[in-house]
């Protein structure tokens, strides 16, 4: 079972990303769940979101404390004392929004992508979440790019959905 911890800030779209990921896994006939931990949300505040994907029904309903995959939207969270290495299992994967790899000593696999830059170039001033999903799909293979694009278009209808799907596919290529 994949167990994900998403680290982000309010406004970066990680909660939506986890829901789209769940939807993509369900499209493939898998079991999945997304569980955000809500607080008094405001732009820029740290946001924690969790997810699971499995071939079997998922009974557990709590947050993820021992992830085998971490998705970090913002490396500056370390500056306010948030340690994304917390609780990670051995042989884990990190997907990070960064021009350079980080924590290669802790994670077995580190996949990095400047999702902010790619999103800015392709979509403008919007959250980097679909780009991060593209990177996550490439890094883990937990869902196929095809079902991820379908899930994005389901969540975001019309032309905007097409453009988001394109950005996700570009991120998949670039990671």
């Amino acid at each position: 079972m994949w167990e994900f911890r998403f680290y982000s800030r309010g406004g970066q779209g990680a909660v939506t990303a986890a829901k789209i990921l769940t939807s993509a896994a369900i499209i493939e006939g898998k079991y999945a769940q997304a569980i955000p931990s809500y607080g008094q949300e405001r732009k820029g505040a740290p946001i924690y979101t969790y997810g699971r994907i499995s071939e079997e029904p998922i009974e557990v309903k709590s947050y993820v404390y021992r992830p085998n995959c971490v998705i970090c939207f913002d490396t500056s969270l370390a500056e306010i004392g948030i340690d994304i290495r917390e609780g990670v299992r051995p042989h884990s994967t990190l997907v990070v929004n960064s021009p350079d790899p980080v924590y290669e000593d802790v994670f077995e696999k580190v996949f990095y992508l400047d999702a902010d830059k790619l999103t800015h170039e392709m979509l403008g001033e919007v959250p980097p979440n679909v780009a991060m999903l593209g990177a996550l799909a490439k890094a883990t293979g937990c869902v196929s790019l095809e079902s991820l694009l379908e899930a994005i278009k389901l969540k975001i209808p019309g032309k905007a959905g097409e453009m988001n799907a394109k950005t996700c596919a570009a991120a998949f290529e670039e990671t």
């Binding site: 986890a18 769940t22 369900i26 079991y31 769940q33 809500y38 998922i58 009974e59 557990v60 309903k61």
Partner: protein
């Protein structure tokens, strides 16, 4: 055939309401319930669902509107949580004593104070003696399914008692999972149009409901209500079976896993039951004789069924997601009564966990089981509830 969707618990309930062909919805928004009524309003707006939607000015008014509408013979729904449910309190008794088969979703959130947005059962437990059937769902799928089942049970003429379908705030309400949403035709096989079976308001034959009731008849009315509630046990069994035959998803008033030959059994409700099942499965794989018994129907309480399950068990660990300050948790007291009913002599320990949104995760359940086994091995009785997920260093003893 139904459609597989990725839905959270709130959206699942909204779809359950639509598929139950509810005619009137009256509600006032409150976290974490708001998305239920938002989704319903949106389905009505998009003309996917036809119903009357009343935006009330408070929860008190919302339930008043439900009582008024249900009294004229229509199928109704409302939803609330925490403060909102507290504001409905005097009306919940009126609704049940009037034998109106309304259904309410309660998205459990701590009752203040201190002020909190997050999950525990202190809200729903204020309603335990208000004469409503109470079903605790653990997942979005169950939230949808129990909503449909609730209408069939509440409207049954042997029951005529309203139902609260409880889901845990955030741990189910905002948990997105795979949900099989029945199609309109499929739902029709289980739930038809509303038929009024008891007295209802009619302008051609005016009369008053819920008048001042004298001591000469009050007790008999309460006893009638109690009998309706007790009859709900058998009706729930029938409807769970029928639902399983139509949709293939099987439920019962208590759902047990790995209890045969178990030495220690965890008894709990709501979303934590999923986590407990997961932990028990892992502990079983390492040779530990543990099981989990999940209460689905807290009202009417399945005393007989539970006592049957607990026969032969050494330690019973009951987790309440609420503190009955100065006494024992409500679920623990029910379990003790069930054990007395069945003359079960096992050790029974009361645990408090998951207050105000604190997550009940794998470690919490492992700690509960370990503590119950430790106390059981020493043959200790339960002198007070055990606050298993407490941060001891932060407790103030003489404030």
């Amino acid at each position: 055939m139904g459609v597989i969707k990725a839905l959270d618990g709130n959206a699942a309930i909204a779809h359950g309401v639509m598929r139950s062909k509810v005619q009137l919805v009256a509600a006032y928004p409150i976290t974490p319930q708001t998305p239920i009524v938002e989704t319903i309003a949106s389905l009505i707006d998009k003309k996917e669902y036809e119903a009357t939607y009343i935006t009330a000015e408070s929860e008190h008014s919302a339930l008043s509107a439900i009582i008024g509408a249900a009294s004229t013979g229509v199928r109704t729904f409302t939803a609330s949580a925490s403060h909102g449910l507290a504001l409905m309190h005097e009306l919940t008794g009126t609704c049940s004593a009037s034998r109106l088969p309304a259904v309410m979703a309660v998205v459990s959130r701590a009752i203040p104070g201190p002020m909190a947005l997050w999950c525990d059962h202190s809200d729903i437990m204020t309603q335990r003696d208000q004469g409503w059937i109470q079903l605790f769902a653990k997942s979005p799928q169950e939230a949808l399914d129990f909503t449909m089942i609730a209408y069939r049970v509440s409207e049954d003429e042997r029951v005529l008692t309203p139902t609260m379908v409880d889901i845990d705030g955030f741990y189910c309400s905002h948990l997105t999972e795979r949900v099989d949403v029945p199609s309109e035709e499929e739902a029709e096989k289980f739930i038809g149009d509303f038929k009024v079976v008891n007295a209802h308001l009619d302008t051609d034959m005016p009369y008053a409901m819920n008048n001042l009731t004298s001591p000469g008849i009050f007790t008999e009315i309460k006893r009638s209500q109690d009998l309706g509630m007790r009859a709900a046990s058998g009706v729930l069994d029938e409807r769970f079976e029928e639902f399983g035959n139509v949709f293939g998803r099987r439920y019962s008033r208590i759902i047990c896993d790995d209890v045969e030959d178990a030495e220690t059994v965890v008894v709990c409700m709501g979303s934590m039951s999923g986590t407990a099942k997961h932990v028990v499965k892992q502990l079983r794989a390492s040779g530990k004789k543990v099981g989990v018994c999940r209460i689905v129907a807290f009202r009417p309480f399945p005393s007989r069924e539970l006592s049957g399950v607990l026969r032969g068990v050494r330690n019973v660990a009951v987790i309440d997601r609420v503190s009955a300050m100065g006494s024992f948790g409500p679920l623990y007291e029910e379990v003790l009564a069930a054990m007395n009913y069945g003359r079960i002599g096992a050790n029974a320990y009361s645990f408090v966990a998951g207050l105000g949104g604190r997550d009940i995760w794998e470690q919490t359940i492992e700690d509960v089981i370990a503590k119950a086994e430790e106390l059981g091995a020493r043959g200790e009785t339960c002198q007070a509830p055990i606050w298993i997920d407490l941060k001891e260093e932060k407790v103030v003893y003489n404030a």
